[in-house]
């Protein structure tokens, strides 16, 4: 009956397989984040110049990483959905947008809070912060477009096209913001750069980055699962799943 739903990349298959892996992924994510958090907050040495405010790096940097990587995940999922008409990919793309936007928001807010003790002000037109802000705008554009279409399929296709255009543009935007920043050269202290960090500071950062990647995957899967349930709520297998859960 619902044969058109079960083509390549069947959402049902994804829902059932991811259900098996989910508890493990959740456990690993929780442990990594907890270890990284305690390590970073309490056991990493304080920075000579910035003091303890430097500890914000343990959330700021991983969040920034995932914010950018998340855009690529979204765009690539969108491309797969457009080219191979795979419904699962559309759902992944739709789930990636608010997640990426939230992480971009975290990166921006923690960056601003970090800026206060470091630069004496919450907001500086620094190249990296400005780029992050533009990234937030790109995410918001995709989400706004997604919400303004009444047809689900059209919404997915349109936001896939937009996120692809954004992906092509991100390097250009980043480069131009960098160039703009060096042109104006305001006197600021640079963020601590990862490669020159002391290993004692760097190891917890590494744990946090891996933890954030796991967290990203976890939330992406959770979002996609709820999207699958919502879109296939009329199909028989979803009804079976719901019935099983009640027992």
């Amino acid at each position: 009956m619902w044969q058109w739903f079960h083509r390549l990349g069947s959402p049902r298959w994804f829902y059932q397989t991811s259900g098996k892996w989910l508890p493990w992924l959740a456990g690993i994510t929780f442990v990594l984040l907890l270890v990284g958090l305690v390590w970073g907050l309490g056991f990493a040495p304080r920075d000579a110049k910035q003091g303890n405010s430097f500890r914000i790096i343990y959330i700021h940097v991983p969040a920034s990483f995932l914010a950018l990587a998340g855009y690529y995940v979204m765009a690539i999922a969108g491309a797969v959905g457009l080219i191979w008409k795979m419904k699962l990919a559309d759902m992944v793309m739709k789930s990636a947008a608010p997640l990426g936007a939230a992480l971009t928001f975290v990166a921006l807010v923690t960056g601003a809070i970090w800026g206060k003790p470091t630069w004496g002000t919450y907001w500086v037109w620094d190249a990296r912060i400005t780029s992050m802000l533009v990234l937030l705008f790109l995410y918001m554009g995709v989400m706004a477009l997604q919400h303004s279409y009444t047809s689900v399929d059209a919404a997915n296709k349109a936001s896939a096209v937009l996120s692809l255009v954004g992906m092509v543009n991100i390097p250009i935007i980043y480069k131009s913001v960098d160039w703009w920043y060096t042109l104006h050269q305001p006197a600021t202290i640079k963020f601590t750069e990862a490669p020159t960090m002391h290993p004692d500071m760097f190891h917890p950062l590494l744990v946090m980055i891996v933890g954030f990647y796991c967290f990203y995957a976890l939330v992406l899967i959770l979002n996609t699962r709820s999207e699958i349930l919502h879109r296939e709520r009329r199909s028989s297998w979803v009804k079976d799943v719901v019935l099983q859960n009640q027992r």
Partner: protein, 70 residues
């Protein structure tokens, strides 16, 4: 590896930077909790609607499985 602070008080204050560090972590954790709770909440809502529909269907047809079959 050693704990870098003398006391819990010191750990909270972080030499005057405590407010910044703790608020940054708090905001990040709140957002992350919301990110996990959101899909779980949505999922349970879908489950509720499906359950309601199933109940309505059973009331109508006396056999819930009928509608799902070929």
């Amino acid at each position: 590896m050693i704990f870098r602070f003398d006391s819990f008080q010191h750990f909270l204050q972080m030499d005057g930077h405590g407010g910044y560090v703790w608020s940054a972590y708090l905001i990040a954790i709140l957002v992350m909790v919301w990110l996990v709770a959101g899909p779980l909440f949505r999922q349970s809502r879908v489950r509720q609607t499906v359950t309601r529909e199933l109940r309505r269907e059973t009331a109508r047809h006396h056999s819930a499985g009928e509608a799902g079959k070929e």
